[in-house]
């Protein structure tokens, strides 16, 4: 029983990052009907800023927690800036163009791969955990830092849900994702909403990157490592669906945790890909999607 709890805790830990990552992906698709492979680089720039800036701030005399919060905020700002640049100089010209945006995003991926490597180098980095220690939940171990990550993922998903359901921006985002023309006829300024949605998604990726920095291996390639799982979660959950992104992330994490333990990591990875192929064949819109 203890083993099952440990695996469930592992599932929750893993899904926390995937949830944060895939929320932004699905939001971009929902609003702009585009697939953005460069999303991983918004995540990466935030994590890279944290691992470079935090040690420098600590050396300058800041307490670790303050250094982490400050570097995290700057990391998120960097992610939003990069998102802004890619939108202004690229994606806004390819709205609702899946093929064009796909090619554009691959181009951005290659550009950012080179830029990040030149700027940050290839060495692996991490930062110390802000919350030390390990907590036991029904005999299952989870670090304090990972627990924080789980809470942050739940809070962020809930906050996004509130924004989408209760705010004017959220209503507009939902309207354009359902029917762009009808929304525009109702007076929804599509370009402005698409811009806001894109920046919100980049911000979500930035939050994910800042939170993952203390618990992961941060290199310029970190975005590429997560983007595949993020897309799988979004495809399973349904492109454009927030609850779908959460369920998809949980599903991927479940297969990774239980499959990885009982059958080995390589088998679990294969299983995830087989599952996504099955979804694409038999339920291409995913569990909750409208894509």
């Amino acid at each position: 029983m203890e083993l099952v709890f440990q695996l469930l805790i592992t599932t929750l830990q893993i899904s926390a990052v995937y949830i944060l990552f895939s929320l932004g992906l699905t939001l971009i698709f929902g609003v702009m009907q585009i697939v953005n492979f460069a999303h991983g680089h918004y995540f990466a720039i935030s994590a890279l800023v944290v691992v470079y800036l935090m040690p420098w701030l600590v050396e300058a005399g800041f307490p670790a927690s303050a250094a982490y919060i400050l570097s995290g905020l700057i990391g998120i700002a960097a992610a939003v800036l990069v998102g802004l640049a890619t939108y202004q100089f690229g994606f806004r010209h390819f709205q609702r163009d899946m093929v064009g945006s796909f090619i554009l995003s691959v181009g951005f991926v290659l550009l950012f791969d080179g830029l990040f490597l030149e700027s940050f180098g290839g060495a692996s980095r991490s930062v110390p955990s802000i919350v030390e220690g390990t907590v036991s939940v029904f005999g299952a171990a989870i670090t304090g830092q990972r627990l924080l990550l789980c809470f942050a993922a739940i809070l962020t998903a809930f906050a996004l849900y509130l924004v989408l359901m209760k705010s004017k921006l959220g209503s507009a985002l939902r309207a354009v994702s359902i029917d762009q023309e009808a929304a525009m006829l109702q007076g929804v300024p599509y370009n402005k909403i698409a811009f806001s949605g894109f920046l919100l998604a980049a911000g979500l990726a930035g939050i994910a990157g800042a939170l993952i920095a203390p618990v992961s291996i941060v290199t310029p390639a970190i975005g590429a490592d997560y983007i595949v799982k993020g897309f799988i979660a979004v495809i399973i959950g349904g492109l454009g669906s927030i609850p779908g992104a959460v369920i998809g992330a949980l599903f991927v994490a479940f297969v990774e945790a239980f499959g990885g333990y009982y059958y080995g990591a390589s088998t679990a990875t294969l299983a995830i890909f087989f599952l996504v192929i099955a979804f694409l064949l038999f339920k291409p819109k995913g569990l909750f999607g409208n894509g």
């Binding site: 180098g121 060495a123 692996s124 110390p128 989870i142 390639a221 490592d225 390589s266 679990a268 990875t269």
Partner: protein
């Protein structure tokens, strides 16, 4: 009158220019004669997760070529040559490796590959290089990579065959109470090769292999891997060919779930990534392919070069990267012995030369018993361990051949 003067001035100016041009060409020709370049190609990952290895390889190749140039170059038949490193990104996969092979061999006309990283791209390179008569050095570990069927392929660093038995013997003697081992490797040619050799080596020293698993490179979450490794409560966990940073992440997760035992990263190449990610959980980790630059046996040259590399790359040098330095000195020795820059003649001379390795010893080629022909650079196996956060050299096991 004025026109005549102008015409004379124009003529004088043209003549002066022509003389200067001729002198310049002649000077260039003379310069070419005094030092000719030999292109040395590198097929290494310059992007992605293994980019640091590739960047370091490129750096060391250039370092070696600079040192060779400063010491008078390579003298063959009265002509002095200097090496020019040309690096292409193979992205650590076969498809890009094939493109890089064509670019280096067909477009650049390279006849010597100073180093190639990654078994998959190396195999793609070999399919062209042996046919085209190009001599290649490689860090790839596959048994089938070299031998009598591949007379132009040489390995530039220790492989599992050279590292694992001496290292595992050392560790089992240091921990005689250990009875069981769990093994993990990346799921690619490198990992599979390492696993095959390590399973036998552990068996030879009497430990039971309770599990042997593979994982995909680029894995983001290591908790399930750690849980599976620890499920039989092994005395030793051997992470094989796992890269240092990923090994650090796995040991960190093992620490969270309470496993404590003998830790080994057989072909771990460096402590920086391991300690940066693993923190206190990597205390006591043994490695067989890392180099400690703080011990009493380290030379000033090694320290100086390592410091320069750390400034540029952000990490200390490792055995993978050092191979790209040694290969150029090996080439120099073979070219000067054979008095030829023809790849086949140089390849014939390589097994009989000795050269000054970066490790401070005089190195040569061997491995005929294992591979069928002496195409393996024979280098010391350096046993290191993380002690109080620092990489410490415990001993060097010199090649027996």
């Amino acid at each position: 009158m004025k026109n005549l003067t102008n015409n004379k001035m124009q003529l004088l100016s043209n003549l002066t220019f022509s003389c200067l041009l001729t002198l310049g060409v002649a000077a260039g020709a003379v310069a070419d004669e005094s030092s000719k370049p030999i292109k040395v190609g590198l097929s290494v990952p310059m992007s992605g997760a293994a980019a640091l290895w590739g960047q370091g390889a490129d750096w060391m190749c250039k370092k070696a070529s600079e040192e060779i140039r400063d010491s008078g170059g390579v003298v063959v038949d009265g002509t002095t040559y200097n090496y020019e490193c040309i690096t292409y990104d193979n992205k650590y996969n076969a498809a890009e490796g094939a493109k890089v092979a064509r670019a280096l061999l067909q477009r650049e006309g390279v006849e010597f590959i100073g180093g190639s990283l990654g078994t998959a791209p190396v195999r793609a390179l070999q399919s062209l290089s042996e046919r085209m008569g190009v001599l290649i050095f490689t860090t790839a570990w596959g048994d089938q990579i070299k031998g009598p069927d591949y007379p132009l392929t040489f390995t530039q660093m220790n492989t599992p065959h050279e590292i694992l038995e001496p290292l595992i013997s050392y560790v089992s003697e240091a921990h005689p109470e250990a009875e069981s081992v769990a093994i993990l490797n990346p799921n690619d040619a490198t990992g599979q090769q390492t696993e095959a050799v390590s399973t036998k080596a552990w068996g030879k020293v009497g430990l039971e292999v309770v599990s042997s698993d593979f994982y995909e490179r680029g894995t983001t979450e290591y908790q399930p891997i750690a849980l599976r490794l620890a499920r039989h409560d092994p005395d030793v966990i051997d992470l094989g060919a796992t890269p240092p940073a990923e090994a650090g992440a796995i040991f960190k997760e093992l620490d969270v779930i309470g496993w404590d035992g003998v830790k080994l990263v057989e072909v771990g190449t460096g402590a920086d990534g391991l300690t940066a990610i693993g923190g206190d959980s990597v205390e006591g980790v043994y490695m067989g392919a890392a180099v400690a630059f703080n011990g009493p046996s380290v030379t000033d040259h090694q320290k100086r070069v390592n410091e320069e590399a750390r400034e540029d790359l952000g990490e200390s040098l490792n055995t993978v990267q050092i191979g790209f330095y040694d290969s150029l000195f090996a080439l120099k020795a073979a070219m000067e012995k054979s008095q030829s820059i023809e790849p086949k003649k140089v390849a014939e001379a390589l097994p009989s030369v000795t050269f000054q390795s970066f490790y401070g010893n005089t190195a040569r080629f061997g491995g005929e018993e294992t591979y069928g022909s002496p195409q393996q650079m024979m280098l010391p196996v350096i046993v290191t361990r993380i002690e109080q956060g620092e990489l410490v050299e415990l001993g060097r096991i010199n090649p027996t051949e």
